[in-house]
């Protein structure tokens, strides 16, 4: 059965990876926009490094983490769009007639997002290094950044898949994108939390898991190894991923029953 399971996952993963990477409209914006925002932020907000208590003298180094999380947000859109397309075209209905296991279907569907996440993480790392943002935690730290950004991609991708399975609508998937974007903007994206002056905003950023995902990546880039920041980052990303996968799995069961 486990061999069958691996085969099922492999077949669907191959399809998902090829489908995702063959769509320039899915790949290019997810690389271009985070890099554009990074580049604009680095020049536009470099003077913020003069604030007392700012952790680095390079805003590029501070902002690099944003690209990883923003890229992962595109994963939600891509995963959701792919899954909703499968619902709308009836592909999922046809799969429901086969002995395919639900978990295999979900894992296979998310494989494309993981491949996109890997491409994004490596690209952002290379561009960041070429632009002069050193990684304080070294090569191992860079590997950890890639792993964490994959978990973040999985988390947001699973949210996209959940919405797609729940609603079966590509438009609904597009509709959650602004909400996820809001989660990024209402975090410690632009300034460290201790430098956010507006009390309510600092409070929201403190409760927002995206802040900890950013701070974990940022810690490796700016400070080196910070166990607490890394633990919080992995816990938030992993927690969101787990909840979203369970929700998506439940939505898939309901959709299969409807079929």
């Amino acid at each position: 059965m486990s061999g069958g399971f691996a085969f099922q996952v492999g077949a669907l993963a191959r399809r998902s990876v090829l489908r995702t990477l063959r769509q320039p409209a899915m790949v290019i914006p997810s690389l271009f926009f985070p890099l554009l925002l990074l580049s604009i932020n680095a020049g536009g907000l470099d003077s913020a490094t003069e604030l007392p208590g700012f952790p680095t003298d390079s805003y590029l180094q501070f902002a690099l983490a944003i690209a990883f999380v923003q890229g992962a947000l595109f994963s939600a859109n891509s995963a959701g769009t792919n899954v909703s397309n499968d619902v709308e075209t009836g592909f999922l209905n046809r799969l429901a007639l086969t002995p395919l296991r639900r978990l295999a279907l979900l894992m296979g569907q998310l494989a494309g997002i993981m491949a996109l996440g890997l491409l994004q993480a490596v690209t952002f790392l290379v561009v960041g290094l070429v632009a002069g943002a050193g990684i304080e935690a070294g090569v191992t730290g860079a590997v950890v950044i890639v792993v964490l950004s994959l978990v973040i991609s999985l988390a947001f991708g699973s949210i996209g898949a959940f919405v797609a399975l729940r609603t079966g609508s590509g438009e609904a998937v597009q509709g959650i994108f602004p909400l996820l974007f809001a989660a990024l903007f209402l975090s410690s994206m632009a300034l460290p939390r201790n430098l956010i002056e507006t009390a309510w905003f600092r409070e929201v950023a403190t409760y927002n898991p995206v802040s900890y995902m950013l701070e974990a990546i940022r810690s490796l880039v700016i400070f080196g190894w910070d166990g607490e920041a890394l633990a919080l980052g992995f816990a938030c990303a992993g927690g969101v991923a787990l909840i979203a996968i369970l929700a998506a799995s439940s939505a898939l069961r309901t959709r299969m029953v409807r079929t």
């Binding site: 604009i40 003077s47 913020a48 903007f185 950023a205």
Partner: protein, 258 residues
Amino acid sequence: MSRGSFTSVARAVAWRSIHSFFTNPAIIIPSALFPLFFFTAFAGGLSRVDSVPGFDFDSGYTAFVYGFVLLQASAFGGVFAGFAIARDFESGFSRRLLLAAPRRSGIVTGYWLAALARALFTVGLITVVALVAGMDIAAGGLDLVGLYTLALLVNAATMLFGCGVAMRLRTMQAGPAMQVPVFLLLFLAPVWVPYDLLTGWVKTAATVNPITLVLEADRGFIAGDPVKVLAAFAVAAGLAALMVLWARGGLRSAEQAA
């Protein structure tokens, strides 16, 4: 081919678009939420930036951000109107409109009036929120007229740009072609800090970006200390005039395809 037929076409198109905007939650909510969201995120998350040495804007960071978000809302109000035109082409409505309208330039005017109504609604909403959030506005009556006239000129320019793109490509997939250039022009201006505090290539881009002049004049009006007014109006009016030609070309292209 009377003046009356032009007015009636413009009025009918405007009424339909305005009605569709105010009665469709899927259209009105993102239009209102996005600028509000940017205002909240920037004014709340970055307010400490006004303590950076050299940040010289006496009205405070909320007013500084309001200046940008006002322009952004006006510009994207125009872009979203372009989306609506593209949607009308996809649904086949525009083709019927082109066949039925006695004066087709009235169609573009109608869409512009609708974009104006959308911008007035969004700008009004952001202004109320900014005032509730404690924005300190030092502008006098004449400054306010200048501020909002400038914003509406930007709205007209982006709407005409979107209209030209939508009428040439006639598909919703043209969305990025309308959105990305406007996004780049806006964000390559001094968005978060004054021009003098920009660094690197962004400063170079802001130097040659005409929107920098518009944004600086816009913030000058807010602070009650108008600067670069003539240059900003020349840029905004010039862009709008250029976009009239672009939209007229789009209309010709759509007429040939109809």
